[in-house]
Each structure stands twice: as structure tokens, then as C-alpha cells.
């Protein structure tokens, strides 16, 4: 259906009429029961299902515009002695495209990779308990490891806003029966002052796998494949020993700086590497607390911070932009 041609033709004919009767003829031609517009409506039923909706909407729009042109022309004809025509209200914009948020897009890119490896996805509460957010991750009360995360409390000390996606992991371990694999993005909260570089709300991406023969090699192989998928085969990933209470052994993940390729620059603060997240083999105590026998089952878990990653990818300089800030989408970027 060439609607724009129909609209242009209607506009031309309507503008050219000199009398009310001619205008009525044109109206019947386009909008009458057997008119061009109704004929076009009838053709919609033959379109593929996925096109019907849009075609209907667009045709309605054309119909409305023709009605407006006729109405305006009627008013013109009512005013004798004037040969020139007043402006016709004629707003036209390219159709507005919708967009997903960059965090959603990035999380989905990662999820696509994990789905290809048979992972499900998962979710859990944002208002959590100390039990699931800390104790079941092998972080007892008053443990110095708690300093790694400043917590926002709803009811101190028991009810809080989850500080890490690992809180979903503890729910998953408790609820599901192994073997299982799941990967998920999650909003997390830390009690930090909001400014250009820090936010009290940000996003983690976490993956968990529990099976009988999970090893560090599986974990490192999976992470390497993920980073290659996201950054290309040339990406250099570094795995180093790091302490996280919920895993043993624990790993820190760094990738060679995109900007300086490991030589050291302002982006990587001179160290040549950019820290991407943490990982490890799930601590036997964490499995036991969830009712999973660590003598039979083993698992890996890893978590990545999404926000800085997204900021680099979308060239966003202020972390506040990501959440309800100045992020907007060009309506019809090709």
C-alpha cells in the first residue's frame, strides 16, 4: 500500500477544488463507502499477520489527515474573494522507533551467550534478609568482609536492600535441585553518595552452575568464551587469585585495557588492566547451607558489574545518566 502517494494525491485534488460540490466529489472519491481509503482497508486482511497492525494504524492516520484537509478546504471555500490558501496543518515525522535501555540490551547480549550454553535465567527479591545476602554467602555478622559493601537497611540488622546479585544465588541454591545453570542481571544497592562516578543503585550480572564435575577450567573457559564473544578474539583476560567469602578458590577477572592494550593509561589508571568482576568455585559451606551436599555437587559462580561496562560501550560519562537521568533515544536513528 502506498499511503503517502494516496495522501499526496488527496492533498493535490482537495487543494485544487474551487466549489463545495467538487469538494464533496473528492471526499466521496477518497473517503466514501467505496472510496480509495476503504478499498485500502479491505486489502489489510490479505497482509501477513505481522504487518496488519502497522498497516491499520498508518491507514487510519492517512484517513484522519484527508479529513483534516477537506475540513480546512471547506473553510477556505466559505471565504469569498480570497484566492490564497492559509497554511494546512500538516505535521509529519518519520515513524518513532522504540528502544530498550542500554543495560537491558547489554544484559540480553550476555544472556544470549549463556542461553547458548543451556543456562536458564532467574530472579529474586530486592528487599532481602541478612541471612540470604550475607550469612548464607559465608559472611558472618561483624566479619570484616562486610566492609566491602555498605548496606542500606530497611530494618537494621535483618532487612536490607540486596547489595549483590549473589543474594539471588543463595535463593537459587536453596530452591532448585541440582544440576542447574542460571545467569541473570540484577539491580543492587549500596549506601554510597550519588555523584558523577558513584551511584547507590547499580547492576550486576551473575552466573551460577552446579553439577557433579564442575571445575575451575569450566569457569575460566566459560568466561574466556564470553569475553571473546563480547570483545572479539583478540581480548586478553587475566585470572588472578582473589578473596570472596562465598567462593573457594576465588578469582579476580581483568581484561587488558581497550585504550592502551595493557601499557597503562588514564582509563585503566596506569595499570594496563580493567577489573571486570569476580568468580570462583562455590564455597562448600555455601552449598551446605543451601542443603546441597558439597561432596557430590560442585559449582561455579561469577559476577560482573554492568554499569561501567555499559557506560564505556555507550560513551556515557555520568553514571546518573543510566537511571532516570539524561539518557534519551533519537526517535528515528536509522
Amino acid at each position: 500500500m502506498n499511503l503517502e502517494k494516496t495522501l499526496t494525491a488527496a492533498n493535490k485534488e482537495i487543494s485544487a477544488v474551487k466549489t463545495a460540490s467538487d469538494l464533496e466529489k473528492v471526499r466521496i472519491k477518497f473517503l466514501g463507502r467505496a472510496g480509495l481509503v476503504n478499498q485500502l482497508f479491505k486489502t489489510i486482511k490479505d497482509l501477513p499477520p505481522e504487518e496488519k497492525k502497522d498497516a491499520g494504524q498508518e491507514l487510519n492516520l492517512v484517513k484522519n489527515k484527508i479529513e483534516a484537509l477537506i475540513s480546512r478546504q471547506e473553510k477556505q471555500l466559505d471565504k469569498p474573494g480570497k484566492t490564497s490558501k492559509k497554511p494546512v496543518k500538516f505535521y509529519y515525522a518519520l515513524p518513532k522507533l522504540g528502544h530498550l535501555h542500554p543495560i537491558t540490551i547489554t544484559a540480553e547480549e550476555i544472556s544470549t551467550f549463556f542461553k547458548s550454553l543451556g543456562f536458564s535465567t532467574y530472579e529474586g527479591p530486592e528487599i532481602e534478609t541478612d541471612e540470604y545476602c550475607f550469612r548464607r554467602l559465608n559472611v558472618p555478622t561483624n566479619h570484616p568482609a562486610r566492609d566491602m559493601q555498605d548496606t542500606i537497611y530497611i530494618r537494621k540488622p535483618e532487612i536490607l536492600l540486596r547489595t549483590q546479585a549473589s543474594a539471588i544465588e543463595t535463593r537459587l541454591l536453596e530452591k532448585e535441585t541440582p544440576p542447574f545453570k542460571a545467569a541473570f542481571a540484577a539491580r543492587v544497592y549500596r549506601n554510597e553518595k550519588v555523584n558523577k562516578s558513584n551511584h547507590f543503585i547499580f547492576h550486576h550480572y551473575q552466573a551460577v552452575a552446579v553439577d557433579k564435575d564442575i571445575t575451575l577450567k569450566d569457569l575460566i573457559g566459560t568466561l574466556d568464551a564470553l569475553f571473546k564473544k563480547l570483545y572479539g578474539d583478540e581480548v586478553v583476560v587475566r585470572y588472578r587469585c582473589k578473596y570472596y567469602p562465598e567462593v573457594e578458590p576465588g578469582l579476580g577477572l581483568d581484561i587488558a585495557c581497550f585504550a592502551c592494550h595493557g601499557q597503562g593509561c588514564s582509563l585503566c589508571k596506569g595499570v594496563g588492566w580493567i577489573e571486570m568482576g569476580g568468580a570462583g568455585i562455590i564455597h562448600p559451606r555455601v552449598l551446605s547451607m543451601a542443603g546441597i551436599d558439597p561432596k557430590i555437587w560442585h559449582g561455579f559462580a561469577f559476577g560482573l558489574g554492568l554499569d561501567r561496562w555499559v557506560m564505556a560501550k555507550y560513551q556515557i560519562g555520568d553514571i546518573r545518566t543510566l537511571l532516570g537521568g539524561n539518557l534519551a533515544y533519537k526517535p528515528n536513528q536509522p
Partner: protein, 635 residues
Amino acid sequence: MKIIYSEIKKLLPGLNQPVKKLVQDLTLIGHFVDGLEEEGNSVVISLEVKQNRADCLGYWGVAKDLAVLYNLNLEEPKIDLPNITGQKALPIRIEAQKQVTRVMAVKINHLNNQPSPKWLKTILSLHDINSINTLVDLTNYIMLLWGIPNHAFDARKSTDNLIWETNQGKFDHFASFDGTKIALEKGTLQISNGKEVLSLAGIVGGQNFGVSLNTKEAIVEMAIYHPTRVRLDSKSLKVVTEASIRLEKQLDPELVPTAFNHLISLILKHCQGKVASSIFNYYPKEKKLSPHTINFNPKGPATIAGVNIDEGFSLKTLKSLGCLVNQKEKNSWLVVPPSLRPDLELEEDLAEEVIRFWGYQNIPTDQPISAEILPNITPQILHFIEAAQNILVNLGYDEIRSWPLIKKSQFLKAHFLPEEAKAIYTQNNINDHYPLMRASICSSLKIQNRQYQKLKIPQRRFFEIGKIFYQNEEQPQERWSLGIFDQSAKKLIRKMKQFYHDLGIKPPEKISIVKADGGAMMEIDLNQLVKNLSRIPKITITKSPQRVDQAAQELTGQIVDLDANLIFSQEKDPRELIEEYQAKFDPDILWQLVVLDFYQEEKVYKYTLRAFYYNCSAKVAKKTHREVFGNLGAE
């Protein structure tokens, strides 16, 4: 923790790795190097010490790891201590026995305390510690070397009657060595002389009892406490020091005599003086670390890593770390970790030790987890959310994500929440303007709409899917909610009918919308809606920009709109007109181009185009406008 290359080399004379290699290796075995500085002839390496490796808050612990890594001999500093016998005992009392693990103390008289020698000043300066005088500087030096904090009192001011006790309310304030006044709390661990508080144990010394150049008699003490006590005191009093950072972790009480003797020997050497008391040594039997034995299968590290790690390498590594290793039976060894390493509790901890020295970098990177399909455990709501957001994108809506914490004035309650639902407040959010959890996505939509209005964004049409929060009978609850905003109420209703249709659900007879500033919005309970679905349709995004990263923009200021009147002798197709002119712009500043008006007079066709400019000044926008449209560009 900083280490000076030349200082660690004194403990490892065979160390000859270039600094760059040393830095890489330290990072790989778990001591992340986050800084490297050259100051004069010294190289200073900054380490991020793992939370469970308190032993590495001193040179000794780091040197032990390097000795294992490079197979080097570790040389203990030479300690020349005279034989101390027959002296009178100090009248020290340990009353807080539950909180104190070990204390060693001694009195030294006839001191000749001087400004520090250059070598000592340099070391402390490289560690960002101010030099005070030789005796005080030596206490800091020993803390850096062995990782165990210690303190010296001027005995003429403090008296010899030191008491380790918890504050029972007798003392209400304390002035630290730098004059800071600290209000004391009941239960704080302190050292007093019965009349005054001399120091907050494990945290900071007092103003009136410190050692100065005039000090002739000093009591030197080194102690280890229950880490939780120090941590709680440090947090509640809001005082964090080099000492408290170390003592809130589990330090090795067995290392105290060596470090203490080293300190005394250095004081006698550099400040002269004579030992005037016997050595006080509180270390009751029940506080002594009982060596714990771990059953260890030397094949374990290979099983965990998934690679072939030689059993001999496993056992050799553990021995080098100071573990006692004895074979129990085939594939089963009994391992007793050294007291320096309280973090080694389980067989998995031992395996990690072996693997980190074997090298994570030696594990193959090309073998990901098997792609075997396991049962799908994805909750239905997540499938549903994906379908819902894709439908909305296809309908031309943009996804936003916003803060679930809001101001009181922004609070709204979703229409589907129970009447008795109450707001949830946070208790300690330091961003105290945002104390409330949102109970309606509409709160977030309104905030975003206001922001978009400020930025003068045309065609505001957006949605958010997220959690909303409330409490029922004191229990926090959360639900998934969808909120949609459109500048046109009619369009919103029409699009929502389409939304329901695409989900395969009959739309409600009346779609309720709420008026918003410059538009309308609505909210849907997704947890409820998903229950109405017999199956969740698979929806893909059919209309999407090719480069989403170029569509999403961080706006740095308001959008500037300028009009241009164009005159043609022929009628134009509006789409072609927009596309023709769009191509003339720098895409980095053109947000959108629309035909705003059309006017025909005889054979003259006039079009008004409106150009929206972003992330540029009004001046740049006007200049660009003139360049593209010439004189037809009207401001």
C-alpha cells in the same frame, strides 16, 4: 599495604625478579598491585591485601608467599636481645580476659630517645607515616615488618599499673595522641591505669601518655585482641587506624614473641636504655591456638582446577607454606597449617593455595562448560517481562530505568495494591532526600517526564518495567509493575489495546489512564497479568535501529529547535523531504527533523521544517541551521 622493594629484599636476599615481573606475580597469587611508585632510589609497591590474609599486612607475610613462589630462602631479621632474668614483674592486670588474646610488655629505663635516624625516617615516609621520634618510629616499623601493632607509654606519666579492661562507664571521654576528643562508650576495650584511660586498645594511644624526646622510662606493649571487639569499637567510635585495620583481623599470637623481641632489641640498640622489668606475657592456655588438622587428598587441587596438577607439587607447596604434612594413608594426608595462616580451615583452602602457586594462568581457557541443556528453571514472569518489553518497543516506546528510591513528595501508590499497603522507608540511606521505596512505577514515570520536559525532548513516549514495594502487616512485599507514558492519552489507549492483543489477552473493557503533566500514563500489575496467560508469546523486536548505541544519547543540555521555511515549485513527498535534508546534517547534533507545516499558494509549495539539535550550544545550532538551510532558516 605498601612494600618497599629494597626492604622485602632484605628478607629474601635471593630475590632478583625485575620489579615489573614481581608486580605481575604478586597480583596473580592474590596480592593485587594497585600502584607502583619510584621515589628517589626506592620502588614502592602498593598491594590490596585480601580480607582473609591479615598476615600480609606486614612484610613478613608477603615475603613468605614470595619465598614459596620463587623457591627462595626467607631470612628472619637478626634479633639481639640480652638475657632478661631476675627483674621485677610489672603490675599489669588483664581484666577483660575474654577480649584479650595475648599481651607482652616490658619496662625500659634510662632511655636516650632522639629524632629518628635517616633510614628509619625514609622507610616510614615511604609508608606515609610521619616520623615522631626514634622509639615511636620503631614501634611503627615493627608493625610494618611483622604486621602486629604495638605501643609505648611514657611510664612516668602512665605509671606501671596498666589495666586491660572494658569500659564499665567509669570513663566518658578520651583524647587521642593528636588531641582528638572521643566520647567513650560502655564496653569499649581500653588500657587504663585505674584513674585515666591511656589508650583505646588496638586502636589509638592517648594524648598525655605518649613517648616524647624527654621520655626516660617507657612501657612497651604488644597485644592481640578478639578481632570483633576491635572492629566494633573502631566502628562505633569512628576511629580507623593502621593498628585497628590489622587488629580487627585474626593475627597470629604465636608471632608476637618474635616481633616483640625484635622491637625491644631495636629500642635498646637505637635508644639505649636498660630493661627494667621482666617480660610480662599474658597468653593463657585456652587462648593458645590449637593446631587443627585437615584431611587432604593431594589429588584435590587437580580435581578442583580440572587440570593435571602433580601430587608432589601439592605437597611441596603446602610444606613450603609452613604446613606440617603427614601421610595418613594412600591419597590421604594430614595437614596442619601454620599459626600465621588462620584462613586455612578446609581442604578447599589448601587446594586454593596449591592452585594459586601452580598458576591460574596455566589453566586452559578454551574449554567452556558443557552446553548440555538442563531443565529450564526460568520463572514465567521473566519470560513475560521479555515479551512485554519487546511489544512496547515495537509500538514505539522507549525503555527507561529509574531509581526505586524516591522523595516523600514523589510517593504514589499503584491502584492495584491493597488498601492497607503502607510505604517502606529505608533507615540509613546516606542520600537522605530519597528515603522511600516507590510503590508505583508512575512515580518514576513522572520524574522522567519532568526531566525530559526540562531537556525539551519531543515525542516523549516511554515505559518502565520494575519492582514496586510496600509493606503489609509489617512484612515487606514487592511486585513487578509496568508503567507507560505517552504525550497523547488517545494514543496510549490505542497502543495499550494493541499491547494486550499482542500478548493474546482480551483488553479490559476500560483502560484506566492517569493524567500526567503533558501526557497520560498507566500502570499494570505484571504478577497478576501473567496469571491470565495460558502461554507466553514469543515476541521479537521487529523495528529497531541498526545501531542502538548511536540512538541512545547522554544529553548534556536542552534540545534546541529551529524552523526553516522552504519553497518549492512542486509538491514534495514529506518523507523524501526529511530524508533529503537529514543527510545534510552532522548526525552528532541533529536529534530529529519534522515537517511542521505545509502551505500552498498557486504553484508555490511552502514547507516549514523544524530541526531539533542536541548536545550543542544554541550558537552552534543556529550556525548549522544557516549552513543547511541558507537564508530560509528562520530562528
